[in-house]
């Protein structure tokens, strides 16, 4: 057996991770939190991503969005540490913390846990305005369809976390399979001569082997991605239809950043999704922070917490 050199073979460490989306940390430089009367915090620990949002007097002040680690408490702490580093805020300065998302009960420094359903509705109502009625959140491991009233109170919802079809995870699967960065999937899905029929299988595992077969058959990657995005869209729409779709359609979560799916959902529903300047992934944490604000107004600040992390 003579020498073999596997040059530019990426070592596992530096291996390109196509599925990974951008992490981000932001603070409103125009504001000074010291001036705020009420400071609240919302922590959303999802199965895939975690966010921390800080509200100053019920307005968005700062947020941090990162991938969920292998322990929910740490993820919550790190999410907060991010904004803390950027703004100098410590937990001691925060009047009330609400935890939400998959790991909401594991947020060590939260005063109350509220489901992501209620928080997404509340957040969307703030981000999209009180005309928001229908909310779609495609999470990492689940898909939520929510209908809410002008106050952002949930009037109808369903969540599907049994099947990966129509979840962010399903999207990661295809980006991995195609070796295309997840952020590019949407754009690539439109770079096709003709729009292909949707991948027929509802099951992600089958869809995957269907996608492989398309490649085998000589489809371009873009075409396969298009077929897959279409399938995702059809899947999500069938869930939305259960709760009844109304104008004022708002999409939260990472999926909002994937035009490949969003545009196709709009096409199927015949409704345009509302625009927002704020990172759609923070909707849950934002909602949680707003709940926290209301709670402070109702029952006063919670006792300050020992700084975590």
């Amino acid at each position: 057996m003579s020498e073999i050199t596997a040059f530019n073979a990426p070592k596992s460490g530096e291996k390109k991770e196509f599925w990974r989306w951008e992490e981000s940390c932001w603070a409103d430089e125009s504001k000074d939190w010291h001036a705020a009367k009420i400071i609240t915090c919302g922590i959303d620990v999802g199965s895939v991503s975690s966010q921390c949002v800080i509200c100053a007097d019920g307005e968005l002040y700062a947020y941090n969005s990162m991938r969920t680690g292998s322990s929910s408490p740490d993820s919550a702490i790190n999410a907060f540490a991010g904004v803390s580093a950027k703004t100098g805020l410590t937990l001691g300065d925060v009047h009330f913390v609400v935890g939400t998302g998959y790991g909401r009960v594991n947020v060590p420094f939260s005063h109350k846990a509220i489901t992501e359903i209620a928080c997404h509705a509340r957040g969307a109502n703030k981000m999209g305005g009180n005309t928001v009625r229908t909310i779609l959140d495609m999470g990492g491991q689940d898909c939520k369809a929510i209908h809410c009233d002008e106050k952002g109170k949930v009037t109808n919802f369903l969540m599907n976390d049994k099947c990966a079809a129509g979840t962010g995870r399903g999207m990661e699967v295809i980006s991995d399979l195609m070796q295309i960065p997840i952020a590019e999937l949407g754009q690539r899905s439109f770079e096709v001569d003709v729009e292909p029929a949707a991948v027929s299988s509802v099951c992600v595992v089958f869809a995957k082997s269907e996608a492989l077969a398309m490649l085998k058959a000589g489809y371009t990657k873009n075409k396969v991605v298009a077929a897959y995005c279409q399938a995702m869209a059809e899947r999500v729409v069938s869930l939305l239809e259960r709760i009844g779709v109304e104008e004022g359609f708002f999409i939260t979560g990472g999926i909002a950043k994937n035009p490949g799916v969003v545009k196709r959902i709009e096409r199927l529903l015949g409704i345009r999704a509302m625009e927002t300047k704020i990172d759609s992934q923070i909707a849950g944490a934002f909602g949680a922070a707003l709940f926290a604000h209301t709670l402070v107004l109702k029952q006063g600040p919670a006792k300050p917490l020992a700084a975590a992390a």
């Binding site: 359903i117 109170k153 009037t155 049994k162 259960r242 709760i243």
Partner: protein
Amino acid sequence: MIANYGYKDGSGEYYISIDTDKCIQCEVGRACLTACPKSMFEAMVDDYDDEVVWIKAQFRKSLAYDCADCKPAAGHTRLPCTSACTPGAIRHSW
């Protein structure tokens, strides 16, 4: 609020819907809790501080099987849960 607990997968759509507006002021003393042979219902306080019932988490991903015993195939003409809930807060999607 209409709360849908359940799932849709390759084999179909299985949701139990609970109309919390009818559920909050339960006029039948939470009859559903005892009506369900598997005690799948549970009373809890929701995000808006109202007491309502929901489906216990361990059943939410297997309703098709958990509810089979109460379906016509098992000789039932009416579902125990929906029959017990005379205000009509509970509905099955299948």
